[in-house]
Symmetry: C2
DNA sequence: ATGTAGACTTCGGTCGACC
DNA sequence: AGGTCGACCGAAGTCTACA
């Protein structure tokens, strides 16, 4: 890791700020020089105060100080998501073989994540590897979650649904994510973009209920998508409409749902959105399945 | 500010990690306890290493440690953006009166930002207040930018265009933003969501060129929207198509541009996207203006 | 696996002076 | 305004031992 002081100095100069503007009431003038020159480190509390004065987020600082690279665990996660979204399963599988025995906790977590992605593509019943079990136990035991847990739990839903031995139902997980995501919303903004995350979570749950023919639970999900206080951008709004349309297919106005899905697919064809929900597949499966459902229920 | 150690402990417990997993090779076991109990602070370099082991970003840590609140400057910025996007100009103006004389640098910067937003709504020629001048000089003097500068420069374009005394042209600014945004893209991800920012910047520049009847420059912008390596989600893709369509109105296939804009507006009507580009206004103005332009140029 | 305590060393941090 | 030096103090940090 580079020395923090010299990076702070670099940023201070970029921002055109004086030492006085940045360090007043935090450290003395003479120590500021020793810190900026890299001679001394500094207490972390003072470090965070200095970043505030600079107008730079701690994460951006870390990124710059790390020569414009992400921390290792985030790099791995980005790569895994990229490989999965581009359907490079072979590469992903090779990656996993190399990393699954690591002693670094964060790599273990990311490996568990990668395993779930891989098996969710290949199997219907999920094997419980050591890393996946670690992930699961962690999520089930702790009621408080950070962003890492909130963003990860979505992909574990199919596992929870197929492994009764965990003795937990999806409703409990849903309650837990709802209790936790709120902490990350502020009055005027959604700085960690957690609103979209929540909508996508509900989408996964809806799909799971439909797959397991738990129609009553699926029916009850409708209101979840209309939560107040969410900050939805285009990504979130489109996901929301997509899942509401799927709901209509089964339990509401079938034609309305179908038309909405077609509209979204038509619109998407204008673009090259590669990293997005596989809307076409969802459409195909859900239209056919909802028809069957309506037939058995003699709806319409 | 809360003591960092106890917050670290809280997060470590949430994550179900042992002290050994988090602190090995960073600090001794006994000191780890004194740190977690809040008796001692810690060197900032070690602090960042610990966060990596925890799997939490420094910014999220700061947010949690600050009782789930954003740093003050970010809170103010979020509020200002919210007030502007909801057209609460009166409240925004009152806010500005209270803060423009602050001695805190970050508040001065945010005040300058708020002033520009306000005047860009009210005037065509921008008054140069002390804080706006400070912002401008800073952006013009420094070749290296951080995210704060990259995200802010967009709103300064109209000022640069109307104040010849700055003696800088928009092309220089465009070069500068292009040199700097690349640092924030990684191989597999766009962790700071800078791709969308760049597309929006080009949109502002395109509008400005068209407003100042600099059609040659506007014509040349087309390729900018097709940059490789960008990570565009729905937000970015839609902005991109929107500006490309505006370009078509003037210099390409008028009907194609018009149809694309109508498609986007139609699609938008399915949603409640409040915080988005004012697409309807752009459509109205650009369709009329491009017709006039084509008429004078005798195109078509 | 965590918490606490004493003895000890290193280095974060201030002050004042000078460039 | 930024940079450096020496003297000084208190806090960061380790190690060992005992819970």
């Amino acid at each position: 890791m580079n020395k923090l002081g010299p990076t702070i100095k670099k940023i201070r100069i970029i921002k055109g700020l004086s030492q006085k503007q940045v360090y007043t009431n935090i450290i003395s003038r003479s120590f500021a020089n020793r810190f900026e020159s890299g001679t001394n480190d500094i207490q972390s509390e003072k470090f965070l105060m200095i970043l505030d004065n600079l107008g730079i987020s701690p994460s951006e600082f870390q990124y710059i100080n790390n020569n414009y690279e992400l921390p290792m665990a985030e790099q791995l996660l980005a790569k895994i998501n990229y490989l999965y979204e581009t359907h490079a399963f072979k590469t992903l599988s090779n990656w996993l073989k190399q990393h699954k025995e690591s002693h670094n906790v964060q790599i273990q977590i990311v490996s568990g994540y990668a395993e779930v992605l891989l098996s969710s593509y290949s199997y219907h019943r999920f094997p419980l590897s050591k890393n996946i079990q670690m992930l699961m136990l962690h999520l089930l035991n702790e009621k408080s979650w950070t962003l890492q847990e909130i963003r990860m739990v979505k992909i574990l839903i199919p596992i929870i649904a197929t492994h009764e031995e965990f003795n937990i139902n999806i409703e409990t997980i849903t309650n837990r994510i709802e209790e936790n995501y709120k902490h990350y919303l502020t009055k005027y903004a959604d700085p960690f973009q957690i609103s979209n995350e929540l909508i996508n979570y509900y989408g996964v749950v809806l799909q799971n209920y439909l797959n397991t023919k738990n129609y009553q639970a699926a029916y009850g999900l409708r209101n979840k998508f209309n939560l107040d206080g969410l900050f939805l951008d285009w990504n979130g709004q489109i996901s929301k409409q997509l899942w509401l349309a799927v709901w209509e297919l089964y339990f509401g106005n079938y034609e309305l749902g179908r038309d909405t899905l077609i509209k979204i697919i038509d619109f998407k064809s204008m673009f090259q959105i590669s990293f997005s929900l596989n809307i076409d597949a969802i459409f195909k499966i859900r239209v056919a399945d909802s028809k069957a459902y309506r037939f058995t229920k003699k709806i319409k």
